[in-house]
């Protein structure tokens, strides 16, 4: 299958806010689930049945299709010991693999450094969204942060090309690394130069793009479409990153959660159809994760912050199926009313880093963790 020897590509889709594990992978036959979820539960008849115990949220129909084709792995009970219920801190831990102190470097920033140690490609990592995710941060490692491919360029309002070239030359010299030890100035300098170079490279991406796939107008579908454009342009990008926010469903969860999963599922399936149409799907694996799951019992209309959750890996190279064990939902097994994660997320990362990107995971995740073998 990999006779073409294409470089493996990773797409990360972050589900921000804490996705409710128990309503994503529903233990639909367990009476305890009905006890805990008096108001915020998925009726047994609506779940998309995976096996005798677990069914997918009804909005995940498109993903169920990928699962049935053996292209989606579901990893249960992912988290870390002594879960923290702050979004901010928990997301930081996922991004940096540092549960005990403030991590400065992101796991994918380090992966990008290992993939392209000489920084030969300024678009090895491309992120879609307004902010730079900490997972991608590593000193000196370039990241192209794009909100909109169409308007990505520096000082584009200077109409006379000759003048603009002169100003950009001057800009490049002023942003060149200075002798000194001012880290913020260096960072600004590097980022400015990357912005300039990255814009020149990325602008070809959508000029040559054509596809029969019609993506939805949702923000996640548009981000995935942009990722498809850059991937199809063959610019050597190895890591893509994007997110879907809004999973913090303390209230009115049922409707919100259904819309979120509908948007995400449709976007993913369109994305892979697009790549397949261009014969460019076989070297792409997508990873979905969230910073924590939610409280076992609902609070009347939603669910509060919890711990433990599910991750998903999707792609032709993925060995579909379910990995790990659904944590016990028996009352005596809960901690602070939450499921106890039984698979460390750093093991999940290790699978991706070693068995997909071909890197040494140990220095990045800082240890050895049990790997779910979905690749």
């Amino acid at each position: 299958m990999t006779s073409t020897k294409k470089d493996p590509v990773l797409v990360v889709l972050q589900l921000s806010g804490g996705n409710d594990y128990m309503n994503t992978l529903v233990p639909y036959t367990d009476p305890l689930y009905r006890d805990y979820r008096q108001n915020v539960s998925i009726p047994e008849n609506d779940v998309l049945v995976l096996d005798d115990h677990i069914g997918l949220h009804p909005s995940m129909g498109p993903l169920k299709g990928l699962y049935d084709q053996g292209k989606m792995a579901i990893v249960h009970g992912v988290g870390y010991p002594d879960s923290i219920r702050s979004h901010f801190r928990s997301m930081d831990i996922w991004h940096t693999c540092e549960p005990d102190k403030n991590g400065e470097e992101g796991w994918l920033g380090q992966a990008a450094r290992d993939l392209d140690p000489n920084k030969e490609n300024i678009v090895t990592t491309v992120s879609f969204g307004y902010s730079l995710f900490r997972a991608l941060v590593s000193p000196g490692v370039p990241v192209a942060c794009v909100d909109n491919l169409d308007s990505y360029g520096l000082l584009t309002d200077i109409g006379v090309q000759e003048e603009r070239t002169k100003i950009l030359d001057r800009f490049a010299r002023m942003y060149a690394p200075a002798v000194g030890n001012d880290m913020v100035m260096d960072y600004l300098g590097q980022t400015g130069l990357e912005a300039m170079a990255g814009a020149d490279i990325l602008k070809v991406a959508h000029q040559n793009y054509a596809s029969s796939v019609e993506y939805a107008e949702t923000s996640i579908s548009q981000k995935l479409k942009s990722i498809a454009k850059v991937h199809l342009a063959g610019l050597g990008t190895r890591i893509f990153y994007c997110d879907q926010a809004g999973f913090d469903t303390h209230a009115n969860q049922l409707g919100t959660h259904a819309t979120l999963w509908k948007d995400v599922s449709e976007g993913i399936v369109d994305f892979f159809s697009d790549l397949r149409e261009h014969n460019a799907a076989d070297n792409v694996v997508m990873l979905l994760f969230t910073e924590f799951g939610r409280r076992a019992k609902d609070n009347g209309s939603g669910t509060d912050h919890g711990s433990g959750g599910a991750a998903f890996a999707i792609g032709d190279a993925v060995k579909g199926g379910q990995y790990g064990e659904y944590p016990s939902i028996k009352l005596e097994d809960l901690q602070h009313g939450d499921l106890v994660p039984n698979l460390d997320f750093r093991g999940l990362y290790s699978t991706v880093l070693e068995d997909w990107l071909g890197l040494d995971a140990k220095p990045i995740v800082k240890g050895t963790f049990e790997k779910p073998r979905f690749l």
Binding site: Y130, F171, R173, G180, A195
Partner: protein
């Protein structure tokens, strides 16, 4: 060499406001530094009439507007206010008590929250927290309307402790629970169904839905309600230090990101102690601590120690260059610009607000910021830029180095590294001396000033506040 009084005044106005044009800086410097701090902390000028904007833009009221444009009224206030510190404090609190239109979906209620912020921004912090707990936008944002005596919702209770007052590490999960119980029944009164637009929301205390039972919170036991809990929060040394650290991070110098504060000590612990003490001594009044801050040596010495936030970049450029005082068509587009740079007003990415400091910078955000500020400073039609051109013209013919130095002085005064300085002079030298001795020469020189300001707006040093 820039006049040091002007340079210090420019620093004060960038931080305690949104920057100022040259003429305002000169007038304020003539009055003196301490007198200016006093006037900023106790403003005498009239506040901006919040209805002025909607008289020109009725489409911004009670309607669904395009993403990013709901903040236009606020942006207009920031651009035109003569009470700059008050408005900067509204921004300060918006970055901490971060509430978002993405969920609230009701710009009137968001703007009402801003009005409440404005009333409390420099008042008493304890009273402010009580007003915040009763603010309909906040109640809905953090689901306190779903916090019932029989079904506790922890969202507001947790964030009050974690993000709005004490910070991680100063309370237990049980405290979160007990705190949340104290706020049960603090809700929004039912509104009639939507027919002709949306009704405003009003706070309501539903006694029947309030858990009046005994609670143990941070070691105190009693039948607490929300006000009691806020009273206990305001007795904690952690709270004074947390607010002090926020003030330092916002006004003095960039700190690490908030979630790491429980494990990373402050850059300048002494400054935090000075601020926390001033805050505590005054019974959590904000004006005294602000006066102490702006008059301190650690503040005066922190020139260009912060990366401008996107809002500071946008409002600063527009206040400096002028030309946007009237809420003309196009202000909606102006209000969207900071969003492209990573800070959409009234729409923080989550309740944790924005990551600040160096995290404002990434390749896309920096590109947007440079494109915008260079566009504004290079616009020779704007009144503030005309002033600069006038001042240069009054100097007569200028050698390239003097041309660059005068521009740097007038555009800040901005201090740049020697390498940057050299490049700017080289660029100016390509076209020789700046000359005004004929119409043709004056036109060419005017264009060159625009280009030089454009270049200055794009240098690294300009991205600092």
């Amino acid at each position: 060499m820039a006049d040091q009084n002007i340079a210090l005044m420019a620093h004060l106005m960038r931080r305690a406001g949104f920057g100022a044009g040259r003429e305002e800086l000169e007038a304020r410097a003539a009055k003196g530094y301490e007198a200016t701090v006093e006037e900023l902390v106790n403003p005498k000028e009239e506040p901006i009439d919040q209805y002025r904007f909607v008289r020109y833009h009725p489409e911004f009221i009670r309607t669904v507007t395009l993403p990013g444009m709901g903040g236009a009224n606020w942006l207009h206030t920031m651009i035109t206010t003569k009470r700059p510190l008050e408005e900067k404090m509204v921004l300060f609190w918006h970055q901490i008590f971060a509430t978002g239109i993405s969920k609230v979906d009701h710009y009137n209620v968001m703007n009402a929250q801003l009005t409440m912020f404005r009333e409390n921004a420099m008042g008493n912090y304890r009273d402010f927290l009580v007003a915040l707990a009763k603010d309909p936008a906040m109640i809905y944002w953090l689901d306190n309307n779903e916090n019932h005596a029989e079904a506790v919702n922890e969202n507001w209770g947790r964030e009050l402790l974690e993000l709005f007052s004490m910070g991680v590490g100063n309370y237990t999960e049980d405290d979160v629970r007990e705190c949340s119980r104290a706020f049960t029944g603090w809700t929004i009164a039912k509104t009639p169904p939507r027919a002709y637009g949306r009704y405003d929301w009003v706070f309501e205390f539903l006694e029947s839905d309030h858990d009046d039972g005994e609670k143990t919170f941070l070691g105190h036991t009693g039948n607490f309600d929300g006000e009691d809990v806020i009273g206990i929060i305001c007795q904690q040394p952690a709270t004074a230090r947390f607010v002090a650290r926020h003030l330092y991070n916002f006004f003095v110098a960039d700190e690490p990101q908030v979630p790491s504060w429980s494990v990373t000590p402050p850059k300048d612990p002494e400054a935090i102690e000075i601020l926390a003490k001033a805050f505590g001594d005054s019974g959590y009044e904000l004006k005294p601590v602000l006066s102490v801050l702006f008059n301190s040596e650690f503040f005066k010495n922190a020139r260009f120690a912060k990366i401008k936030s996107p809002i500071e970049a946008v409002v600063g450029a527009v206040r400096f260059a002028g030309g946007a005082e009237f809420p003309a068509p196009g202000i909606g587009n102006l209000a969207r610009q900071s969003g492209y740079m990573g800070q959409e007003l009234l729409n923080p990415p989550s309740v944790e607000g924005w990551h600040t400091g160096v995290e404002w910078v990434n390749s896309g955000a920096l590109m947007k910021r440079i494109n915008f500020t260079a566009g504004v400073l290079g616009d020779i039609e704007r009144p503030g830029i005309q002033t600069i051109i006038g001042k240069l013209q009054a100097e007569g013919d200028l050698a390239p180095e003097d041309f660059v130095n005068t521009c740097l002085d007038l555009a800040g005064p901005l201090e740049v590294k020697p390498a940057t300085h050299r490049e700017l002079i080289e660029h100016a030298s390509e076209k020789g001396d700046l000359s005004w001795n004929s119409n043709q020469a004056a036109n060419a020189s005017t264009a060159r000033v625009g280009e030089m300001l454009k270049l200055i707006a794009s240098v690294r040093e300009f991205q600092y506040s």
